[in-house]
């Protein structure tokens, strides 16, 4: 723990302010530079303020192109980090990521099938979301049937199996897909992107993300107890099986929404909660709050770099791994050195 608990509220408030500043800055940069003043004027007019006489094209760039993308990046970063934080507690393992129960593989298969069937973009998202829920539902159902003496291990093993099954499904869809149109579409979808974020898609994604994160926040004390052994949690009066299902439901809702909007973006859900725990200690209330802020900021920073750093856009799913891997290895080294 690097931040003392009593300093935590201040640290969280400061990082939230920094996040807002980053979001505002991100609206100004890009192929078409918009001055900070024009960004503020465009935001003000969109909130119903007086017409400020800003150029139509600057207004469109800020409100129609960049704002949805910034909001999507913030939401997806926050969502993946929150789900990762919850799963790391639930599975008592700081190296667990949100797709441990196969949600990403399920989303990927849903999206790939939708592309194969030449469905419109909205249906690709809807099928991706449904595929994610289906994969995790399958894992939970199998776990309940198996009823092993170690339910956590049963869930993780089943998650790996179901994930690889859905992964094989994706590979099969890619194999039979039309190699000139559908295969690239599937591949680009899997790499992840915020470029296609449209204002009307955002509501459908933000709502389940907000609901899932809110549920995790309400359950924050329970989730602490779930990080103990099953015997301890049960002897403290917790219905462990039910509490675990609710947390899995909330985390799956959040992750499936994020993946259906932006594709399979790795690392964020693994690296950010781990960093939050190193900074703020194990208490889930603090880990969740800090993960949401750091994850949103990290994702936005990565996506802003993706769309501005080079002549062509880099997929954020690739950039997160490039940036995430060294960060993660460094964190691991710190953590292992501490526990040695």
């Amino acid at each position: 723990m690097i931040l003392a608990p009593r300093r935590f509220p201040l640290a969280l408030a400061l990082s939230a302010v920094a996040l807002l500043a980053l979001a505002a800055w991100s609206l100004t940069v890009g192929r078409f530079a918009v001055s900070p003043g024009d960004v503020l004027r465009a935001l003000w007019s969109s909130l119903g303020g007086a017409d400020t006489g800003i150029a139509k094209n600057a207004d469109a760039v800020v409100l129609q192109v960049r704002a949805p993308r910034v909001i999507a990046a913030l939401a997806v970063g926050a969502a993946l980090s929150a789900a990762g934080a919850a799963y790391q507690n639930l599975f008592r393992n700081p190296l667990v990521s949100p797709d441990i129960l196969g949600v990403s593989a399920g989303c990927a298969l849903g999206a790939a099938l939708a592309v194969l069937a030449a469905l419109p973009v909205a249906m690709v998202q809807a099928l991706a979301f449904a595929g994610g829920l289906l994969a995790v539902g399958l894992v939970v159902a199998i776990g309940a049937r198996v009823r092993g003496r170690d339910p956590i291990l049963t869930l993780i093993l089943t998650g790996v199996m179901v994930g690889s099954l859905f992964g094989a499904g994706v590979a099969l869809v890619k194999y039979v897909a039309d190699p000139y149109n559908q295969l690239p579409a599937i591949t680009f979808w899997l790499l992840g992107s915020f470029a296609g974020a449209l204002p009307r898609d955002l509501a459908a994604t933000l709502l389940p993300i907000a609901a899932g994160v809110a549920l995790l926040w309400l359950l924050r004390w329970r989730i602490d107890v779930l990080a103990l052994s099953d015997d301890e949690a049960r002897s403290l009066g917790v219905n462990v099986g039910r509490a675990r299902l609710v947390v899995i439901f909330a985390a799956t809702l959040v992750t499936a929404s994020a993946v259906s909007l932006a594709g399979t973006i790795g690392w964020v859900g693994l690296v950010i909660p781990h960093a939050a725990r190193l900074l703020a200690g194990a208490k889930f209330a603090r880990v969740l709050a800090l993960s949401v802020v750091l994850g949103a900021g990290f994702m936005l920073a990565v996506d802003t770099a993706c769309r501005t750093a080079f002549a062509t856009e880099i997929p954020p799913g690739v950039a997160t791994a490039f940036i995430g891997t060294p960060v993660f290895i460094a964190l691991l080294a710190i953590a292992l050195r501490r526990s040695a």
């Binding site: 723990m1 359950l219 602490d224 107890v225 990080a227 103990l228 200690g281 526990s339």
Partner: protein, 264 residues
């Protein structure tokens, strides 16, 4: 204020571990559970905690079958103290102890001032009131075990079921835990205490239950039951029980495993 096992068969329906166990634990007494590895001590304790359904017979808590108790109410009567060897996330000591208040609030309930006071009072009772802010990985094994006992006290439970709370502790910390457990008895707690050290039972047990291969080999008052014959039968090795006198003149009993001749 009693928990009792009546004609208890425990384990799993497919594999019964122990049969016909009779055991009573009242307030203000320490019952020690002794037996070799794999003898069923932990499984019995899990059954007494309600974590495992009895295969046959029943467990009765304060006059009512354990399975009829709602989980949250049960958790305020009956507390579990695991070994401190468990690998925990690095909660602070007070955060760990506050989890003992879980049953006092709902699924969405945040711990309030009363919960924090109860946690602090439990820490104070065990003499580690100053450790609350320390990370659980950063205190000694003995202090971590005391924190887990404090968590059990914070539940408000009158019965404490301790699964080898002295395992993995150094000699001094074992003695510390034994003293604290004896103090809790004096304050009225009923304590079931499993251990691999007959000496611990000789020191603090009011009664002992010797468990071998799932059945009770012998049970009764500690002094009479922990004799050379019973202990040798329990562990399958020749064991002597010696009377020793400390330099201060206090008499105590201790046990000694007889060495095989070839090592002499």
């Amino acid at each position: 204020m009693t928990i009792a096992a009546r004609a208890l068969d425990y384990g799993w329906p497919s594999r019964t571990i122990g049969r016909g166990v009779e055991l009573t634990l009242a307030g203000g007494e320490i019952v020690c559970l002794l037996g070799p590895n794999g003898g069923g001590k932990t499984t019995l304790m899990r059954t007494l905690l309600g974590l495992l359904e009895p295969v046959a017979g029943e467990v009765v808590l304060d006059g009512r079958a354990l399975r009829e108790w709602p989980a949250r109410e049960r958790a305020t009567r009956l507390a579990y103290v695991p070994q401190a060897a468990g690998s925990y996330f690095n909660f602070s000591v007070s955060e760990m102890v506050e989890m003992g208040r879980t049953a006092h609030r709902g699924a969405f309930g945040a711990p309030g001032a009363r919960d924090r006071e109860a946690a602090q009072a439990a820490l104070d009772r065990l003499g580690i009131g100053g450790l609350g802010a320390r990370p659980i990985h950063g205190v000694s094994g003995g202090e971590r075990q005391l924190a887990l006992i404090a968590r059990a006290l914070a539940t408000g439970a009158t019965h404490l079921l301790m699964d080898e709370p002295t395992a993995n502790l150094d000699f001094g910390n074992q003695s510390l835990i034994l003293d604290e457990v004896a103090r809790l008895r004096a304050a009225g707690a009923g304590i079931l205490f499993s251990t691999h050290h007959p000496d611990h039972a000789l020191r603090i047990a009011d009664r002992v239950v010797l468990l071998r291969a799932g059945s009770v080999l012998a049970c009764g008052p500690g002094g009479a039951t922990l004799n050379s014959e019973n202990l040798s039968a329990l562990y399958g090795r020749p064991i002597d029980v010696l009377e020793v006198v400390s330099p201060g003149g206090t008499k105590a009993r201790t046990c000694l495993a007889r060495q095989a001749p070839r090592f002499n």
